[in-house]
Each structure stands twice: as structure tokens, then as C-alpha cells.
């Protein structure tokens, strides 16, 4: 790997890109007044940049404030008892405000709801302060947008002042763990807001009757009885519109097992073929990772039409094969066994209705997903193979081990640290991966190709059964967790990975 910074190496391409865009904008500005429709213009770009820039600044300023706050808690201590009081009170007020803002966020997103009143106004006290600041700024004569920006700036200045004050009142101290926690904090906050909170929200939603009729959570009712109802509907009723839970569960297991088995065995086979000193190795590898390199969405949409009954690739190939078989069998009518065999083949192999027949529809999504997934496993396994030292094989050769024995007793065990996480992740990903299904068959015909996750997606966003979907999601999560725990118990755990 050479050491020129990546950015510098990509700089020329960047210049080209910018140049092309400039040309595009000039041409566009000339054409735009004479045509209909929306197209990219300078205004759109600038508006988006401002929007995103404000968002990024807000996020990073917020994170910076939290970081400095915790830095001062970990690494500074008050000089005297008096300053200790001042500092601790300031920090306490900070923490209280922060807590209130978090609770207000919960209320705002309907995790719980408060009636108008004292409690609610306490909860929204920090927000009221900010709003007050903003309206004061608007009173001075700023527009709505710039008052938002300016109040952000004012807030940052206030915070900076407070932090400076605390800094003056304290002396440094050392902390062994403080650094680690400070570093982990931003990602931790991100995960908390984006994963844990929605997860909790989902649990709450599972015990509700939220749907389109209740305007999502606005008029929804909560209670154990609703959760129970959702659970009963899940196991006895239909999951989306036609299919039942256990039918879809069975299909999901089938989908996952078939996919992962083909991914691992296909990837293993290709990796073993590639892993030897040979010509054109890099060339083959490049070609073989194509399915991984092409964006999945494009592949799925493209293959969707290749499963067309007349003009799709698969039926063209099958009908060509069929006519060839018919020709051959006509030429061989007189040959005793072969003739009959070919006649049978010609009668049974031919174009298939990928769209209407549930079985073939399922096969079509399987083909696509297997094709898509093999390169990833191949690459992972190839990496694992390359890390196995030659000496093991040489020793085994001297001891007279056959190729199969070498594979069974050297390759497989040494591949395990690579294979274990890859298989776990593969199973989980495949279990959850339904973009191929959604884009190719949309679960049809009659939801005969749906797996659990795609049914769930439909229940939520086509049938708007929110409470039900949340319970559905929890059940899926429990299934996956059970699988992972059993697998970890059986395979000896992730210890090798985390330590």
C-alpha cells in the first residue's frame, strides 16, 4: 500500500467532477426555462448544503458540549469548598436541563404523554428558553431561518462562557478511565438515540392498538390487553393479508438455510479453486466479485424483468434448451433408452411461469439472492485461506494425508475463526434481507414468496397495522436472539472475537 494520502490521490478526479458539474449547470440554466419537470439546479444544491450544514453543525456542537461537560467531570476538580459548591451546582443544573430535554424529546415523540399543566411546562422549560431566545432574535429583525442559526451561536457562546467559568474554578486531576469513556460517548449517544430508543418505543408500540385509524400514536390506546390481542392475531390470523405466521416462518427458515448453504458452499468452492498459484487468478477474482460490486437494487430490478415469461433471460434460455431437447429426441426416436430419456426431458424442461407459480416465484428470488451472496463468502473464505500457513499442508503431505483429509483436518478448523462470525452474520442478514424479494416479486403471488421481514414491512407500510407490526417485530427479534444464543453455545462463543 503506498503512502500518498487517499484524498490527494483522488483530488484530480474531484476536479474533473466539479468541472463536469459546472458545465452541467451552465447547460441546464440555458435549457431549464424551456422544459417541464424538475431537474437539479444550483438553488437546489445550495439549499440542500445549507440544510445539511446546519444539521451537522447542530449535531457536532451538541456532542462537543456534552463532551466538554463530561471532560470537566472526569478531569477537573474544584479548588476549594466554596468553588466546589458553585461548580457542582452549575453542573447539576446542566444535567437537570439535559435530562429535561431528553424527557421532552420522549414526550414529543409520544413515548409517554403529559396533560397540559405544571409538569409539562417544567418538562418543556429548556425548550421554552430556546424558543424565547429565538423569538427575541426575531424581534430584533432576523428572519426565521437566520434566527435559528443565530440562537445556536448564542447558545454556544453561553455554554462556552459557563465552561470557561468552571475551568477557572477547578484544577486538573488525572483519570484513567475518563479518556476511554469520553471517546466512546459520541457513538454511545448515537446508538442510544438511534437504536435503543426506537427499540423501547417499539416495545411500547407492541402493546397498543396503533394503526392508521388511530393516526399512528396520536389516538392510540395502550395496555396489556392490546399486546395480547396483537399476539393472538399474529399467531392465528394473517400476518399481512393472505399468509399465516407459521407458513411464513417455515418459508423464512427455508429461505435462510438454502441461501446460507449455497453461499458458504459456493463461496468455499470458488475460494478453494482460486487459492492456488495459477495464472489469471486476479482476473477471475475480479470477475467473480461482480455480483457483489453491482448495487443490489439495480440487480434486483434488472433481474425482475429477466424473469418475464416471454422476454426474460431465463425463459429464453429454457425455451432454447427445450427446442434443442426436442430436436435431439426426434433424432433419437429409434434409440431405445436414450430416446425415451430425451423425450421425457423435452416434455419436462421448458419455460416456467416465474411470476404466477408460487414455487417458481420463490425459486426466482432464491436464484437472485444466491447469485448475489456468493462473492462475499468467497472473499471472506479466501482471506481466511490465505492466512493459513503452508507448513501445515507440507507436514500433512509428508505424513501422507489425502487432500480431503487435509481439508477436513487443517483447512476447516483453521477457517473457523473466519467462518463463525461470517456464518452468524450471514444467517442474520439473510433472515432479514428482503429487498430482493420486495423488488422482484413484492411477496407475490398471494404472499407466497414473503418471508417474515417482508410481511412485517407490508403490515406496517401497506396495511398500516402499527401496533401489530411492532409485536411482530419483537417476535422476530426473539427468534433471532434465540438462534444466536444457541449458536454461540454450540460453537464456543465469540470469545476469540472480542478478546
Amino acid at each position: 500500500m503506498d503512502e500518498t494520502p487517499l484524498i490527494r490521490r483522488f483530488l484530480p478526479y474531484l476536479y474533473w467532477l466539479i468541472g463536469l458539474f459546472l458545465v452541467y449547470f451552465v447547460v441546464n440554466a440555458l435549457i431549464a426555462p424551456y422544459a417541464s419537470g424538475i431537474t437539479l439546479s444550483v438553488q437546489i444544491v445550495i439549499r440542500r448544503l445549507i440544510e445539511i450544514g446546519g444539521f451537522l453543525l447542530a449535531i457536532f456542537a451538541g456532542l462537543a458540549i456534552i463532551e466538554v461537560y463530561f471532560y470537566q467531570i472526569f478531569f477537573r476538580q474544584p479548588r476549594t469548598i466554596l468553588t466546589a459548591w458553585i461548580v457542582r451546582i452549575l453542573q447539576g443544573v446542566f444535567a437537570g436541563m439535559g435530562l429535561l430535554m431528553v424527557l421532552a424529546f420522549f414526550e414529543r415523540t409520544d413515548l409517554f404523554r403529559l396533560q397540559e399543566g405544571l409538569l409539562r411546562s417544567i418538562l418543556y422549560f429548556p425548550n421554552t428558553l430556546v424558543d424565547g431566545l429565538r423569538s427575541t432574535l426575531m424581534g430584533i429583525g432576523l428572519t426565521k431561518d437566520s434566527s435559528g442559526w443565530m440562537s445556536g451561536v448564542v447558545l454556544i457562546v453561553i455554554f462556552a462562557g459557563l465552561f470557561f467559568l468552571i475551568h477557572q474554578l477547578t484544577v486538573p486531576r488525572s483519570s484513567k478511565l475518563g479518556m476511554a469513556y469520553l471517546l466512546v460517548l459520541p457513538a454511545f449517544i448515537g446508538v442510544l438515540v438511534l437504536i435503543i430508543y426506537p427499540f423501547l418505543f417499539e416495545i411500547k408500540l407492541a402493546f397498543s392498538n396503533a394503526s392508521l385509524g388511530t393516526q399512528a400514536t396520536k389516538n392510540a390506546q395502550y395496555g396489556l390487553i392490546y399486546g395480547w390481542n396483537n399476539l393472538v392475531t399474529l399467531f392465528t390470523g394473517t400476518v399481512a393479508k393472505d399468509a399465516t405466521f407459521f407458513e411464513v416462518l417455515g418459508r423464512t427458515v427455508l429461505w435462510t438455510v438454502i441461501n446460507v448453504v449455497f453461499h458458504v458452499s459456493g463461496g468455499m468452492a470458488l475460494a478453494l479453486l482460486l487459492h492456488r498459484p495459477m495464472k489469471l487468478q486476479g482476473f477471475y477474482r475480479t470477475l467473480l466479485v461482480f455480483p457483489w460490486a453491482v448495487p443490489t437494487t439495480i440487480v434486483a430490478m434488472a433481474l425482475r424483468n429477466e424473469f418475464d415469461s416471454r422476454y426474460g433471460l431465463f425463459n429464453i434460455l429454457l425455451s432454447n434448451l427445450n427446442s434443442w431437447l426436442v430436436d435431439v429426441s426426434q433424432g433419437m426416436v429409434s434409440v431405445p433408452v436414450l430416446g425415451e430419456m430425451f423425450a421425457w426431458l423435452a416434455a419436462h424442461i421448458g419455460p416456467v411461469s416465474w411470476r404466477q407459480d408460487p414455487f417458481w416465484a420463490f425459486v426466482s428470488v432464491l436464484i437472485t439472492n444466491i447469485w448475489l451472496g456468493i462473492p462475499f463468502m468467497m472473499v471472506i473464505i479466501l482471506g481466511g485461506l490465505q492466512s493459513i500457513s503452508h507448513e501445515y499442508y507440507e507436514a500433512a503431505e509428508i505424513d501422507g494425508a489425502s487432500k480431503f483429509q487435509q481439508f477436513r483436518h487443517i483447512t476447516l478448523p483453521l477457517l473457523r475463526p473466519v467462518l463463525t462470525p461470517a456464518v452468524i452474520l450471514g444467517v442474520v442478514w439473510t433472515f432479514n434481507k428482503f429487498d430482493v424479494i420486495y423488488l422482484i416479486t413484492q411477496g407475490g403471488p398471494q404472499e407466497k414468496t414473503d418471508i417474515l421481514v417482508s410481511s412485517m414491512y407490508k403490515a406496517a407500510f401497506s396495511f398500516y397495522r402499527y401496533g401489530f407490526t411492532a409485536m411482530f417485530a419483537l417476535v422476530i427479534f426473539v427468534i433471532l436472539l434465540a438462534f444466536a444464543l444457541v449458536y454461540l453455545r454450540v460453537s464456543g462463543g465469540l470469545k476469540s472475537v472480542t478478546e
Partner: protein
Amino acid sequence: MTSTRFSSLRRALRWFFVRSRGDSPFKTLLIHLALIGASIIAVYPVLRVVTISLRPNDALLTTDLRIIPQNATLDNYRTVLFGDPTKNRQSDFFLWLWNSFSVVAVTSIISVILAAVSAYAFSRFRFPGRSAGLVFLLTTQMIPAGMLLLPLFIMLAQLRMINTSLGLIIAYSVSSVPLTIWTLKGYYDTIPIDLEEAALIDGATRFTVFTKIILPLSSPALAIAFLFSFMGGWSEYLVARVVLQKNDLYTWPLGIFTYAQQFTVAWGQFAAASVMIAVPVMVLFLYSSKWLISGLTLGSVKG
């Protein structure tokens, strides 16, 4: 004359079969045939998209299997890039690209920054909650993508962020952070700790160590992490479909799906748009695949 021809053939054969660790020529040939077969299966469906994009509009529906179709034309590309002059319609292709790019680039920047910092802590410090945190991050990968989508959707609706690109940025950031942390931690673990210790003894602070030693040394890994989360979001369809409903905010997967829905004239345009999007992505991917692979395996093999 014949002898020279044979010798060149022999030389070609020797070139082909050389260095094949004890494999017989016949076996080598079989291996090459198998690999060629597999390569064709891997590449042909992709080439079909190129073929369809080159077909003239009156010949879209054909059972032809040639790679370069008869009367190949670039009409579809022109329509996608510059709109359809006969219908006086502008092209929204660049708008989609810009929407995708702006959303995904910001998502990747956020997740790489967050991950780069916390992965360093996971790699270099031993603190209570460390391995629990790592396992927890892996567990989040177990949560079905669609599962968090519903609460996120309702949350975003409450915050009035449905139909904004910021909403999509938030929704995307969920999935990419945990895995990025794992990849980067795996890479940091391979950087010798002596470098840092020497710098620390010389009086450098942790911050200088991180910015002056760790970040420059791990710039390939950072690039990979960026690329990884970029690719993850770049061709995402299902989340975008839920969060964005307005035409002018469409990311390209939503956009070209409007082309792909039927087997009509738009099919050729879909193919052309796909080719133009896929080619740069693939070039980038194949170019960086070596690092990608080393990053992936390091993340899983070494602890």
C-alpha cells in the same frame, strides 16, 4: 514453419500451466474451465443490463441473446441524461444522484467520525463495559432492519421529518455505525502500540497521539469504512421508500424504480441509468476491493 508454430503453442501452454503446485495439466484445465463457467454466470446478467440499455426503443422486446444488440443506439442514455425533447421533459437523473449523494455522504461522514473515535477506545483502553459494549454492538446487527424502521418512522413523523433528507440521514445512520466500529477496531488492533507509548513518553497527549499517529496510519481503513457505509446507503431502497414520498427528494433507487416498473419504453432508460450509476460504483469497488478484503478479514480474524 510448423515447428515454430508448435513451439509458440508450447510456450503458451507452459505459461498457462506453470507454477501449478503439483497439479496435473488436465486438472489445471478443469479448474480453469470451472472458473470460466463461474465467471460467465457472475458477469452475464450484468452484461445483459448493458445490452438492454443499447437496444433501440422499437426492439426492446426480443428474445435475442447477443451482447451487442442489432442497431445498437445510445438514445436511452441521451434521454436519461438530457430529458426527452419530444415530450419537452427535463431529466431528473442528476437530481436523484444529488439527493442520494448528499444524504449518503453525510451519513457516512457522521458514522465514520463517531466510529473512528470510539473504535480507538475499544482497541486501546481496557475499561469496564468494554467487551459488553462490543458484543452489544454486534447484537444490534441482529435487529431486523425493518424492525427499527417503524418506530423511527413514527418518531420522524412526530418530529415532522418525514419527507426531508435529514430524516433519511437519521434513518441511515442507525445501521452503519456499529459495523463501522467493528471494522475500525480490527484495524487499530494491528497498529503496534509501541508507537503510541513512545510518543506518550515523549510527552504527547492522547489527543496528539490519536490525530498525529493513529489517524494517518489508519487512513486506508478509514477510507474503507467510509466506502463501506457509503455503499450500504447508496443503493438502499426500502427505507428511502418509507421516508421519502416527494418526487423531488427521491434518491436514485426510488427514481429508477419508476422506470423499472413495467416492460415498456422506460425499461431501456432504466438500463441506461443503471449502467451509468453502476459503472463508477463498480470501478470504485473493484479498485478498493483489496483493502476491503483485508479490512474485513482483519476485523474478524484478529481480535
